[in-house]
């Protein structure tokens, strides 16, 4: 078997797109061509031109500027939502695996099943109906459904590790379940978690778009890709670019993240790695 890893085109393209989107979001913190909070209704629905590189929307705002700022919103929503899923799901999964077969394990797994069984979008709508729409609540709604994903994945991977000899060795070094989970299990499930996180990240961006479509994502005046797309959909016959550009932004970003996830998986997957020396 061949040793080492060849950089996959998947990974390169995915990483390039992801970095580009990140750079756009960061750039928008310091500079955008136009102020996205200023509406110039007279200039609305302009096609791409020299002044407005990607044209203007139905309020005459510069779409390029909005895409930059929207990247920030989309990334923020996705990062925090996935972070919530990891922050709660991973400890739950670790704890369940460390106490496999116990009541705690049962509770975590049944809890997961129940969360999984709830219709996600309806619950998201309910959450925003209770707390009001807004980026924070969109994050919570998306984040809740990320918890069981990570809990399950962590538990599954951790369960596969617990019978391994190096865990026995750690137990023979007098280490308890908590310490072993942190020192030995976590670093070894990290790769799997990173891969899943990129995928959940892309799903979160799509979910934000879906929530925005039903009017529940980030609220104006903060632009988000999902809201741009949702608001522009009626304009598609009138000014197609307004609907197509945020759509493409989402497609390309999600594509990039998925490619990145695939690429990382290829690198991390032991089967793809150099075999035993």
């Amino acid at each position: 078997m061949k040793k080492g890893t060849r950089l996959q085109p998947n990974l390169l393209i995915g990483a390039a797109i992801s970095l580009l989107v990140l750079a756009m979001a960061l750039l928008s913190l310091v500079w955008t061509p136009f102020d996205v909070t200023v509406l110039v209704v007279g200039d609305r629905l302009q096609p791409p031109n020299g002044t407005h590189w990607l044209g203007t929307d139905h309020f005459g705002r510069d779409i390029f500027s909005m895409i930059l700022v929207g990247a920030r919103t989309s990334i923020a929503v996705a990062v925090v939502a996935v972070g919530l899923g990891i922050g709660l799901g991973v400890p739950l999964g670790l704890a369940a695996a460390a106490n496999a077969g116990s009541l705690l394990d049962d509770l975590v797994m049944r809890g997961n099943d129940i969360v999984f069984a709830f219709p996600a979008l309806i619950i998201a709508i309910l959450i925003t109906a209770i707390f009001g729409p807004g980026a924070i609540n969109a994050i919570v709604a998306i984040g809740i459904f990320n918890i069981p994903v990570f809990a399950r994945l962590t538990r599954g991977s951790a369960l596969a590790l617990w019978p391994r000899d190096f865990i026995k060795a750690a137990r023979l070094a007098g280490k308890g379940r908590v310490l072993i989970s942190i020192e030995h299990i976590l670093p070894n499930v990290a790769n799997t978690l990173i891969v899943q996180a990129t995928i959940q990240f892309s799903l979160a961006i799509l979910a934000e778009a879906g929530l925005a479509y039903v009017g529940l994502g980030a609220q104006p005046p903060m632009p988000s890709w999902g809201r741009m797309l949702a608001e522009a959909q009626t304009m598609i016959a009138l000014a197609p670019h307004v609907a197509i550009i945020p759509g493409l932004a989402i497609v390309v970003t999600v594509l990039g993240l998925n490619l990145l996830g695939d690429g990382l998986r290829d690198i991390f997957d032991p089967r793809m790695r150099g075999r035993r020396p």
Partner: protein, 493 residues
Amino acid sequence: MRHGGSLVLASLALVLAMTAPGAAQRTDVVVGLVLEPPHLDPTSNAAAAIDEVVYANLFEGLTRFGANGDILPALAESWDISPDGLTYRFTLHDGVTFHDGAALTAADVVFSLDRARAGDSVNAQKFLFADIEAVVAEDDRTVVVTLARPNGNFLFNMAWGDAVIVAEASAGTNATQPIGTGPFRFETWRQGDSVTLVRNPSYWGEPARLERATFRFISDPTAAFAAMMAEDVDTFPVFPAPETLSILDADPRFETVVGTTEGETILAMNNRREPLDDIRVREAIAHAIDRQTIIDGAMFGYGTPIGTHFAPHHPAYVDLTGLSAHDPARARDLLSEAGVEGLRLSLALPPPVYARRGGEIIAAQLRDVGIETDIVNLEWAQWLEQVFGNADFDLTVISHTEPMDIEIYGREDYYFGYGAPEFQALWDELNLTLDPDRRNALLGDLQRNISENFVNAYIFQLAKAGVQNVDLEGMWINAPTQATDLTQVYWAD
């Protein structure tokens, strides 16, 4: 685009002239509506969607609204009003039957009105019946209504969808099996999809020309556009996406129909709350707003600027837009005069596009004069509870679509909390006045009162911007009430 009747006749003549003889005429129509009615009983729910299906088609009242807002006789053939304005004697049409075959008698009228004003009534517009003291059937065809105090609006009130006449036997089941007296009767309701009405063969008046009418419920604006373009729907009387009307209008298959509504779109302010209890702050906000930009930006040009809470097409309307002309400099001056700095207000927006898009533009305009807003998008249920019910808001954008509803400014407990004594005095005088000229003058005073006090910022009168197949005739152009009157509709093939 057309705005009046003469074009209708012209095009009708043209179409008639081109009609090939013998071509089968279409006798059915598919009407697109944005909202599905929760049920079909107009006497127990405020939803306009109910009236949009049943008004004049299924259910009728003593009087009714005409296409231009005039009050016409309906089930009441004629009436007499006592000189003191307290007694109304209605004579009912002969030979009116309900869709289940039962004859309409004065007893049904008594039942309907008594039910609506009873203590346990769940009528959404109980104020319509508030002045009624007694309803008595003199004989089968004569009903006498006695009022506690004169009410110049009584015949107008009886035209509302909430005041239709129902039979005692079917009143309880009208929600799902509506039985009325109208020219159409209910056939099926495919919940979530459509309601179908068919012609009532035993209608007492002029029979409908259509045999069948289907109301399709399409809430998604893009879907509405696609449904029109795919000709799955023949008409969308209130089209949810004004931005696409220009495309539909350019298509030879369709025409857009723009008329007036009773919807005054306002930026309502919480007059009880600091600093909005200061008239200078309210005036500043009024001056900060550029009506035309909002109409262009949110409604793509459909709408008429207003300067008070009154429909511009009404003869009593007074143009007061000058009082609160767009003047950011004046707005800033007023704010500093009031000693208000760094003002931050919440702006609650219900779901309709006028509010969501309009609100975003208003927020930007307020920002120009130094007022920051936090936009809070609310669902209707939340808006009703939070803003309307508990008056827990600073600013909100809302269209008041009930006809002649300037009366709400007389209520102290109303959500924006005005109810000034001088307004109430004017209103009481109006109710005692029957002379039309004097009434109009009083209405003008009412308009001036609220406008000069900058109770709310008045933005525009909602337009009824619809689209329909070019061959469809007889649809209402304006919307004096929220209804889809199909009684005169036909296909010019």
